[in-house]
């Protein structure tokens, strides 16, 4: 292993969302419950603005998952 790695860093995720943007499948697992959703908009004054819609979900396996949708780049990431 080379160099330090940030703990709990976001990883790219394959997310399928419904028309309203709510995730319904994450990495082959079906979402059974939406626990919470929140929105972060920050650093708009910098070269790296941030707009993320977070979702805390429960998958069919019973795992608690947090993903976010990068609203600027359009990509999805898994936080937990």
């Amino acid at each position: 292993m080379s160099g330090a790695r940030r703990l709990g860093g976001a990883r790219a995720a394959r997310v399928q969302a419904d028309a309203g943007g709510t995730p319904i499948r994450i990495d082959r697992h079906t979402v059974t419950q939406v626990r919470e959703s929140w929105l972060i908009e920050d650093r708009w004054w910098t070269d790296q603005p941030l707009r993320r819609r977070y979702w805390e979900l429960v998958s069919e396996t019973g795992r608690d998952i947090v993903v976010f949708h990068d609203l600027l780049a359009g990509s999805w990431f898994r936080q937990r």
């Binding site: 919470e36 959703s37 929140w38 929105l39 972060i40 920050d42 708009w44 004054w45 070269d47």
Partner: protein, 1119 residues
């Protein structure tokens, strides 16, 4: 509907004006909106009127902070509820300015207070972040408000714990059998303001945007949303959404109605009789002989109008206020002073035209003798209360305001608030800081910014070069500044507007403590107060009245002459000679650069002409095109007494005769409308009001049509003539003085000139002690006085008092009396035997109490004989003593400033210790080593760095030998008109009047006098930073000294630059250490006179840091 909404009146926690919220709410489909600013209703009246105008139902309320830091949202359900809200807010603010508090404490209310004032209010449990969410807390609210008037407030700000919180709150509501409502906690009317709201939060906490992350809202969900979007946001709580609508329907209180305010005396049935008696009793004293009958007729007519309008109580209230001022004046002035001869205050404004005001002491101008008509002030068709403004000397006003609070009760009297708003300079500084931009660059941009323009991009480019404004954070600064423009920044107090009431004012509007001890404010500004029907009494402080009183007192002390300014000769030749030659520096109203230029051409010769002069340099006459025709006609009339000035129509001759066919006074707009278009007095006043309002284009157009039809009918004028007269009238839409006001100000202009001419040292001394006031900074006043031959004496530890003083001048050796000195224009200077000593109070950085202690110690123990003794006896801190030494105040003890600093350093003055100052022993400081003397420049810098006044060499006198080919101000009078000249000088004023189409006027001063520069817009844009920020400038351009200009001299600038070393002839490229004026940097080697190049390098650079603040672009004095 939305029941929780903040406007910019939450001060840095809301980014939209009430009317923007109203407009956006209607566009988004809301029918009802509640305004719930933090701990205040500052914007409620504005909101109510905007909502009424646009057809939105307004709900009023506030988000109240509790003393444990939590918030509840209060909504007004009835008139009783409004009164309770006002009382609650008053209580919440009661201790925000308690003495000992270094800054404003946050408002806070106890739950007990809330319970005591719950009637008529509906309480929501507060915002997501800081609401009352615990069961015991909600139960206490339930006890106070009952089930019908308490709701659990659900919010969905899209934070991580929203759903859990709302589920818990819904559960709590079920347990307590309460209903929930859904609110948005709105802080902006549109998403374009979200970033500004973030910046405001950072600014409020005095941190950068980066550092404010935990304090800011996480996202932009606090923008007003459509009702549909709100329903979707709360889809899990549909009952809360429907209950919100139900509750909104129940809140039925309209702020645009009678709040129950009455001013004292309005309901007094005996008021008319008492007013008549008061006036009749004084009629005989004021008027005698033939004038009595005319005065009696005028009085009768006025009293009839007053009775018809029911305003007798209004006049008696003002009279009562003046009587109170009379008592205060006796206390403040002392029983046996020369000032005691003067009235306690004076009227200003249109009320001066009233004989009732004259007889009751509210005005000092005889309206009959001055030919003042009443219509502008009072007419039978008046629909709102007239204005009576009273001017007082500052010290009397200070006590009077406190006394008014005591007389009418602290719950019945308060000052009117004002809301200073973001202009570009403040926005650049504050928003630049939160964006983390480099402080030096921010300051450079701010100093060069056009204060009132909304073009930050150009300001940035002008300061930092092209390309910067559009990139990175500078681009954000531009957009944030533009969004912030005009939004209220904080609360301040109106210059003197007071509200008094018969019933507790706190039932109508909250009252909060003001920053100045003993004063309090209503939470509304003057427009909101007027909308609420409050009577505003203006008790204004006028610096010149204070200066005149000081001067009269000083003359009595120094010369033993007691002067009653109402009995001085009003046809004094030397006074009018000074006025006509524009030798008016420091006098009231006619001292500015523009006034001086005009005076030389108009040459006023009596008080009537002086009244015109006071009124002429105003936007109204300038935009109405009256100034040049008036001046030219006045000149022609002087040359040819038979000259008849032209008038557009015979019906206008009586109305415009005095002003030579032009409209100079505001009342002439009314008179022209009546004489030419047959308007009734009330209709004419309506036209004037429409013209003085902003954005009244539609109303003015309506009047234009009536004017046209009226003129056709009344005088049968042809269309072209009607159009020309209308042009003259409509051109006056800008600000102008009523004739009565001009007469009052003209009189003070004359009186101050008379004092200046006959008692010059005392007058100068009074001006120096009343600063800040007037057009010129003390440094310019001093230089001008020196040019007139008045002796100025430097600040001296053993001779100066705290204030500037007048000292006798010893007769010259041999006993011969001094030859009368002559002023610039050859007028004799009144004060041959007196000099003016600069006071210790002029030394910046020395606290007032230190100066008082020092002066007391000197009185008690005799003069200080050494620096060591000064350090031991004066009880001042080391920094203050060093500042005194550096100002030259100790030169007599130590030889010069460096020696004084050295000796002070060794003398170890008293040290501050807990509980006071540990005094030093007055030990002998021993021999001082030989220290190089300060050069002339360094002395100048030290003067400016400490007292802001240089009474030694003028900066230009020192630089003159190095300025080849640069004309002095006195040489301009003999150089040919139209030729190219170079001039240089210290900047005294920079102005860019709105009426001048972008032209900037600068006033420079050199060692001989002043030079007027006209900087065309293109030159200004090229050299904006030099114009706005350089203290010393060099200009080259065309000399303009037209034949008919009465001696007016201008330089039309083609090129301009700061007077820096590379432009000084013979300057070497050597750069040495720069002494900035700071005493700690004073130890380096110094060039001996004459000034050599390295010294000049130091000097000019250092002057930028210490140059005295000057009149700058309408924003007062700044460096």
């Amino acid at each position: 509907m939305e029941l929780h909404c903040h406007s910019a009146y939450s001060f840095l926690d809301g980014a939209s004006m009430p009317e923007e919220l109203v407009g956006a709410a209607l566009e988004l489909g809301h029918q009802t909106l509640a305004l719930t600013d933090h701990d205040g209703v500052w914007g409620s009246m504005e909101f109510a009127h905007a909502a009424q105008g646009l057809g939105l139902r307004a709900i009023h309320g506030a988000e109240l902070s509790l003393d444990d830091g939590r918030h509840v949202t209060l909504l007004v359900a009835s008139a009783r509820g409004w009164s309770n809200l006002c009382r609650l807010l008053t209580l919440a603010h009661a201790h925000t300015r308690d003495s000992g508090s270094p800054s404003l404490r946050p408002a806070a209310s106890s739950l007990e207070n809330l319970g005591d004032h719950a009637e008529g209010l509906v309480c929501l449990t507060g915002c997501a972040e800081r609401g009352v969410h615990d069961e015991p807390g909600v139960r206490r609210l339930l006890e106070a408000f009952g089930r019908e008037r308490l709701r659990i407030e659900l919010q969905r700000p899209f934070l991580q714990d929203d759903r859990a919180r709302n589920r818990a709150l819904s559960g709590l509501a079920r347990r307590l059998d309460l209903r929930c409502v859904a609110t948005g906690n709105i802080h902006a009317h549109a998403s374009s303001r979200v970033h500004l709201q973030d910046a405001f939060v950072a600014l409020r906490h005095n941190v950068t945007l980066e550092a404010s992350e935990p304090l800011r809202r996480a996202n932009g969900s606090h923008v007003l949303a459509t009702p549909g979007a709100m329903a979707a946001r709360f889809r899990e709580h549909p009952q809360a959404v429907s209950e919100t609508a139900v509750l909104a329907e129940q809140l039925d209180f309209n702020l645009v109605g009678d709040l129950g305010y009455r001013y004292p005396g309005v309901e007094d049935q005996t008021a008319q009789r008492r007013l008549v008696e008061l006036c009749q009793a004084r009629l005989g004293d004021r008027y005698g002989g033939a004038g009595l009958a005319a005065a009696g007729d005028r009085l009768e007519e006025e009293l009839r109008v007053i009775e018809a309008l029911g305003l007798a109580g209004f006049f008696l209230l003002h009279h009562d206020m003046l009587e109170l001022a009379r008592e205060v004046a006796v206390e403040v002035r002392g029983p046996d002073t020369a000032r005691a001869l003067l009235p306690p205050g004076r009227g200003r404004g249109s009320s001066v035209s009233s004989i009732v005001c004259y007889l009751t002491g509210l005005s000092h101008i005889d309206p009959i003798a001055s030919g003042l008509s009443l219509g502008r002030f009072l007419n039978p068709e008046l629909t709102s209360l007239p204005d009576i403004d009273l001017d007082f000397p500052r010290d009397i006003r200070e006590v009077l305001i406190r006394r008014v609070h005591d007389r009418y009760g602290r719950d019945r009297a308060a000052l009117v608030a004002t809301f200073p708003s973001f202009r570009s300079r403040a926005a650049i500084r504050e928003l630049g800081k939160v964006l983390g931009l480099p402080p030096a660059e921010i300051e450079r941009v701010a100093r060069g910014a056009d204060g009132f323009a909304r073009r930050v991009e150009r300001d940035v480019e002008a300061a930092l070069g092209p390309g910067r404004a559009g990139s990175g954070r500078w681009a954000w600064l531009k957009s944030l500044s533009e969004e912030a423009y005009g939004l209220p920044r904080h609360v301040s107090q109106h210059p003197g507007g007071m509200i008094v009431a018969t019933r507790p004012l706190i039932d109508c509007c909250p009252v909060v403590p003001a920053a100045m001890e003993g004063r309090q404010l209503v939470q509304w500004d003057k427009d909101s107060c007027a909308d609420a029907g409050f009577l505003k009494i203006d008790l204004l402080g006028l610096g010149m009245l204070s200066a005149v009183e000081r001067c009269v007192e000083s003359i009595a002390q120094v010369r033993g002459t007691r002067i009653d300014l109402s009995r001085i000769p009003f046809d004094d030749g030397p006074t009018y000679a000074a006025i006509q030659d524009a030798d008016t520096t420091g006098v009231f109203q006619i001292e500015s650069r523009a006034q001086m230029q005009s005076l030389r051409r108009t040459r006023p010769a009596n008080l009537e002409e002086l009244a015109v002069q006071v009124a002429i340099i105003r936007p109204g006459p300038i935009q109405g095109g009256a100034v040049n025709p008036y001046i030219e006609r006045r000149q022609r009339q002087r040359e040819d007494p038979d000259y008849e000035p032209p008038c557009l129509h015979p019906s206008l001759v009586p109305v415009l005769r005095e002003t030579l066919g032009t409209i100079i006074f505001q009342d002439q707009v009314l008179e022209v409308a009546q004489a030419f278009a047959g308007f009734a007095p009330g209709e004419a006043d309506g036209l004037r009001r429409a013209m003085s309002r902003k954005r009244a284009t539609v109303a003015i157009e309506r009047y234009r049509e009536r004017f046209r039809a009226g003129a056709e009918r009344h005088v049968g004028a042809p269309p072209e003539l009607i159009a020309r007269v209308w042009e003259m009238v409509a051109g006056f839409a800008g600000f102008g003085f009523p004739k009565a006001h001009s007469a009052a100000f003209g009189l003070l202009a004359y009186q101050s000139t008379w004092l200046r001419v006959h008692y010059a040292p005392e007058f100068l001394c009074a001006l120096l002690n009343e600063q800040p006031m007037g057009f010129y900074p003390p440094d310019s006043l001093v230089h001008e006085a020196q040019r007139r031959g008045i002796e100025l004496r430097a600040v001296d530890i053993n001779a100066s008092e705290a204030e500037c003083t007048v000292e006798p001048v010893a007769p010259p050796a041999g006993g011969a009396s001094a030859a009368p000195a002559c002023g610039e224009a050859g007028h004799p200077v009144g004060g041959f035997g007196q000099a003016v000593r600069i006071g210790l109070g002029y030394v910046s950085g020395v606290r007032e109490e230190e100066i008082e202690t020092l002066v007391a110690a000197r009185r008690e123990g005799g003069p200080f004989r050494s620096l060591a003794e000064l350090a031991g006896r004066a009880n001042a801190c080391r920094g203050s003593l060093e500042q005194l030494a550096w100002s030259g105040a100790c030169d007599a003890l130590a030889g010069d400033r460096r020696q004084a600093l050295w000796q002070l350093g060794v003398a170890a003055p008293g040290r501050r210790v807990p509980g006071g100052t540990q005094l030093a022993l007055a030990l002998d400081v021993g021999e001082t080593p030989t220290l190089a003397k300060l050069g002339r420049w360094a002395n100048l810098l030290a003067d400016y760095a400490t007292t802001g006044v240089s009474i030694g060499d003028h900066a230009m006198a020192i630089l003159r030998p190095h300025l080849a080919g640069v004309a002095t101000s006195s040489e301009l009078a003999v150089l040919p008109h139209g030729g190219t000249v170079s001039v240089a000088g210290l900047v005294v004023a920079r102005q860019r009047p709105e009426t001048a189409s972008g032209v900037v006027f600068m006033l420079l001063e050199d060692e001989h006098g002043t030079v007027n520069l006209i900087v065309p817009p293109a030159v200004y844009e090229r050299h904006r930073h030099i114009v706005r920020a350089e203290p010393l400038v060099f200009a080259r351009g065309r000399l303009e000294r037209p034949a008919g200009g009465g001696g007016t001299i201008n330089v039309l600038v083609a090129t301009l630059r700061g007077l820096d070393p590379e432009h000084l002839a013979g300057s070497a490229a050597t750069v040495t250490r720069l002494p900035s004026g700071d005493p700690r940097e004073a130890g380096g080697p110094e060039q001996a006179e004459p000034v050599a190049a390295p010294d000049r390098v130091q000097a000019v650079g250092g002057l930028r840091a210490v140059a005295p603040p000057v009149q700058s672009f309408g924003s007062g004095r700044r460096r």
